[in-house]
Symmetry: D2
Subunit: 427 residues, 4 copies
Amino acid sequence: MKLEATQLAAQNAPYLDTHDRSWDILRQQMESKGLNTKALLQQLSDLQIAIPSWALGAGGTRFGRFSFGGEPANLEQKIADVGLLHALSRSAGSISLHIPWDIPEDPAAIRELAAIHELTFDAVNSNTFQDQPGQAQSYKFGSLCHHSAEVRAQAIEHNLEVIRIGQTLGSKSITVWLADGASFPGQHSLRGALQRTQDSLQAIYRDMPEDWRMFIEYKPYEPNFYSTVIADWGTSLMLAEGCGPNAYTLVDLGHHLPNTNIEQIVATLMMKGKLGGFHFNDSKYGDDDLTVGSIKPYQLFLIFNELVYGMANNTANNPPLAWMIDASHNLKDPLEDLLQSLEAIRIAYAQALLVDQEALADAQARQDVTEAQEILQDAFRTDVRPLVREARWQDGGALYPIQAYRELGIREQLIEQRGMHTIATGL
Amino acid sequence: MKLEATQLAAQNAPYLDTHDRSWDILRQQMESKGLNTKALLQQLSDLQIAIPSWALGAGGTRFGRFSFGGEPANLEQKIADVGLLHALSRSAGSISLHIPWDIPEDPAAIRELAAIHELTFDAVNSNTFQDQPGQAQSYKFGSLCHHSAEVRAQAIEHNLEVIRIGQTLGSKSITVWLADGASFPGQHSLRGALQRTQDSLQAIYRDMPEDWRMFIEYKPYEPNFYSTVIADWGTSLMLAEGCGPNAYTLVDLGHHLPNTNIEQIVATLMMKGKLGGFHFNDSKYGDDDLTVGSIKPYQLFLIFNELVYGMANNTANNPPLAWMIDASHNLKDPLEDLLQSLEAIRIAYAQALLVDQEALADAQARQDVTEAQEILQDAFRTDVRPLVREARWQDGGALYPIQAYRELGIREQLIEQRGMHTIATGL
Amino acid sequence: MKLEATQLAAQNAPYLDTHDRSWDILRQQMESKGLNTKALLQQLSDLQIAIPSWALGAGGTRFGRFSFGGEPANLEQKIADVGLLHALSRSAGSISLHIPWDIPEDPAAIRELAAIHELTFDAVNSNTFQDQPGQAQSYKFGSLCHHSAEVRAQAIEHNLEVIRIGQTLGSKSITVWLADGASFPGQHSLRGALQRTQDSLQAIYRDMPEDWRMFIEYKPYEPNFYSTVIADWGTSLMLAEGCGPNAYTLVDLGHHLPNTNIEQIVATLMMKGKLGGFHFNDSKYGDDDLTVGSIKPYQLFLIFNELVYGMANNTANNPPLAWMIDASHNLKDPLEDLLQSLEAIRIAYAQALLVDQEALADAQARQDVTEAQEILQDAFRTDVRPLVREARWQDGGALYPIQAYRELGIREQLIEQRGMHTIATGL
Amino acid sequence: MKLEATQLAAQNAPYLDTHDRSWDILRQQMESKGLNTKALLQQLSDLQIAIPSWALGAGGTRFGRFSFGGEPANLEQKIADVGLLHALSRSAGSISLHIPWDIPEDPAAIRELAAIHELTFDAVNSNTFQDQPGQAQSYKFGSLCHHSAEVRAQAIEHNLEVIRIGQTLGSKSITVWLADGASFPGQHSLRGALQRTQDSLQAIYRDMPEDWRMFIEYKPYEPNFYSTVIADWGTSLMLAEGCGPNAYTLVDLGHHLPNTNIEQIVATLMMKGKLGGFHFNDSKYGDDDLTVGSIKPYQLFLIFNELVYGMANNTANNPPLAWMIDASHNLKDPLEDLLQSLEAIRIAYAQALLVDQEALADAQARQDVTEAQEILQDAFRTDVRPLVREARWQDGGALYPIQAYRELGIREQLIEQRGMHTIATGL
């Protein structure tokens, strides 16, 4: 299933007038402040977020999974789903594969299909946190950190295999996320496990193509854990530095202890030129994988404020970031949920672009704390939705993506085509 | 010092056109959705927040206190400061006294002064968390919970004295906040301390005038603590119910463990008709007493969403709430800081008033989680500042209170009148 | 499979001398302090912990489940497993069933089997957090809190069915744990959901036999949640009081926000006579369901200290508590894991029994904080293992249960009897 | 005031028999397991903890400070107090000065006095978190991170001055702890502040004597903060590496976000050879500065387990650690409180020394999680107090330090000598 430009144009038509009016007002308002609205539209248009191949079906918890109907049953259908998201939002221009859930059998055909949907392949993701049927060694007690050299060798080889698959699709980076850790004090040597993980990552890095990047994810805990091997950004950075210049830290918004100041981690990593990528989601308690911006939109704005600042003051040559949504869709239609996340990301980015950096720097230099807060909050309180909408419309997307999705009856068509009880591979 | 209407009118004049345009746009937008803007303006105008008498000077931490200049040195000057806040914002129409920091020597004169500034006296606050010079018994090991009957009797009598003082000013409620607790396991009997606190509160309640209300605050910890006697809303509610119908729970936004869902506590207490009041502030880690809305504005909105819902569905006869700002001003000019807090509160309230409750209830009935989120976020993402500004302007306040405060040179005048090194009584 | 007394006697024989010596030393030490060792042994012997029927197989996380071999495949085998635990430890004298995972087909036979293993049936547990095949209504959006009366009616009827099943086995209580809640702000009305839950619980309570008790569990969050309906002890207590005298709050050690003072909750509930039961486990981050005492043994001791105090000062007629282990066994042999938990519980209880309550009360009265801490820590630092071992030995159990379990080759025999790839029903 | 050996001998005499018996039993028990008790006693004897000069008086919170009577009024008296602690415990063999609270006027005399009490001078501590009277620049908005070069220069020079003072006393290290940070988003550039802090630390490091070490402390938050510049160990390590080989990270147990796995940070830093020192205390909620071991003794044991392992497997040449107690004494007699802390530290160290490292490594290699936990808990559950006591007694200390302190009437003598209302300089 593929949305055609004419469909969207027809869908947008009745709302265009209202949008134009609100965009006009906002545009004038911004221009009166000296903002370059053309440049803003371009920056928004350039922000493309990868959709992970495993997040297009209903997620689940330990209590069960409520299938949604019309879920994509194979990689081709997943690409079609991301294509739909991109057609509607013009901001989901790439897809991030998870191996072994989505091994392409005919890479050339898959690349062609992606191109039809105007999609590229972003970072590939390895999986050594689950045992696959027929696997020689079990990851029950870890993978890259495992006490046994055989298990580590298998996990290293899996990562290299993932890279090879990624190469066939044009990916240029691999994200390594581990569930390695211990459930109990004493289960393994904390130092030994870290050292072995370092060695294993170096082995992968050594055989990674020169034009690839490795993103090392961190996470403080999983359910039923006492410790994870890569618990925080400090450990991830240490491991990345231990690998080499093409290894970076990847930040997932949900992978932090309570009250962590995530925007500060972002600032620090960009100062070191070591921020590789971002997994977006939101959370109230732990790694809740909720819709982006559904719980802490101001934190999201503050993070984007650091990203905007970091990209504009890139003294350490931090490379362009790999952006991805990493949420779980248990109750909402996954496609609607992702559209909400995409919108929240663009809104936060637009707000951050509105921050008057010069005035802010000036207020900071004068220790004018009141004024500094006013500047940030003025940007955050601005209703930037007409701007975000205009950028999307200029790129050929839907003015109101969720509304369009519903009015066009997309889920109904997917169910008709694919059936009610398909189940997407993935978590 | 008192701001005159003509001063503010002159101050507003050059900005009125711009405001009118933005208000016009927002008004039309709201009215096209069927909203009654007149009623909205009235609701905003009615929301009056008490300013505590101890928060008008620079706050401090254990590392020191940086005095701000022109701080109010006595109760009269504090009233003048709140009068300034009210004149500028039209939303700070009452003052909350703390005894013994602000004992009025001539209550009638103080009431008259307050009336001149259009201020009333909200809840009075007792203090049994510090020893006063010459005090017979020490609160080092607690007050209402103390093992010794003499200490408890002194603390009970202090609360009754605070009520008597409040009566002379027209207050109708007392807020009881305790720092009672233990630094170490075993220091006191957890049960014994709670039982004695219950008994002490009942003793105060028995002698409280019939038309008064008692607000019982809770807080999970203080620095250097192992436990507090009234640790959470459950304990506070239990104690309030143990006292009688005029005892209520008071919620301070900063008094919760990490990740607490505060809006749910609000909803629960309103269902029971037992929410007495609110202390506004914001925090990232603990009881940080930061400017309202400076860290988690969406949480503030969600709380107001419950309050608006609760007030409109008041099946348990919850009385009107006592609202107060309880922040600490260590770096900013206290008056500017309070103006920012007042603005953030009105913004959150205005956003909550915009929530389409009917559509929300309908989406909830259909389990349409996507739609329910859209409804809430549509309200939150709306730039309601023109609405808040219009309500303030209609009430005779400043369009841009902080700007007016600066342009009118108020702090400079206060310093001139009061001197650079006055220190406000209080924390 | 059933352990015979002679087997255990033979197993214990070589270690008896060493044990006797260490017990002798400890006994003299305790008696020199005026402790009644006979009474202590009796109290320890009386502490019997229920084993939940779902915890005898390997647990799992969202990443998979590593089956252990020889897992019980039906209720009979589960009873046999608990029988083994009880034979070895003499402290696992009851079993707590989970419906529908363990519906007894022939209750009389099941009771007889349990009696052979000297087991009784403790609280039964309902399950409205998962959909069962063929179920008319789905719990995707809640059960007792659901917006739809049909769903609530189904969930109420399920609870009553669980009670009826429990009656056939001699159970006298039901534990209600709900995963009801919302993933997103706005998903449901917080107040409406709470009110409906109250109504549903009252409906169950009304039809519960008069000699039964209802235990209402609370929990602040699940993964992918924004709120749970019964988030904390305050809500649970409110609901229990709304039901009647036979409804109580149940505390699960893992169901709290970070840094919660659990022992204080225990003290408060016992003061109200409303503490119904306890689910033991341990955790470092969230609801980790780790082995009891594996992370925070001092907290466990402090909790038992409150329990011992509460049972000795039972002014509010709190009934005897229902004790249960609620842990998940992902990496260890479930039976070994449970033996470690049982040991940790008895150790903490024994330490709490050693606390010199009179001296403690005296130190508290004198505000001697140093001394109060010394008294608690003296008890905690005492090596009470010989006492715990002696109680077990006198009751016919193993001196060293895990060692006995291994030396007797129990797991190997279970695998031989049941096979390597059985999977226990349950989570 | 100085305790004489004869005083202590007389004090110990009546308890010696009982101690000897319990020590004998434990010694035999340990030797039967192949432990070298002589070596253990030596290791315990070698563990010397610095007492900070500011912790000998009553601490305070924002609510007040309850003076204790007989507090040391000058550096000489502080040294005498530490001398008392060392005489009683034989484990407080050094003192850590805080400048400017304790500037020695006659260094030679101070060194001589310290020598009389068998004390050395450990790390000196600088203070740029408070303004001193007459100071040219204020630290209200930071010190080493400040936007203004003048403020930074003053803070750098202060640190160098502290080093020079330390040199006169024989210190060889400086601990830098900053309260630099921001109360609000936008207050300062997160990246700018970090960069300036790096530059300032490098400036201090450059001028530090070659045989000195710099310890960089981290802390995630202070009350009323939004961010601290050196928030976590990752930032501290980055800064230390940016300075050079003699800069290290210092861990304070209370300086972590909720649920942080501190023992893992210790293991990681030792693997890098970058763990410089330790500030001991305990906490339930935040940086509570409670008595060591009063809340989480098992965590303390697990930390020591990593330290023991790290010192025995020191592949990265981590230097010997600087140990210090950093607690606050608000309710207990400060000297009694410190004696409890010293005891808790030695107990945890002794327990960690008992861990059978060989068996543990073997269990880990076999993934025998049950056994690994048994090994750790066997050590922790052992009552090592006779061992700790014997080590102290052999070194000439008191068998029961707190009891001795009380029976010898030390506090009463201090009050008699120094008066009831002295106040120690410090926080």
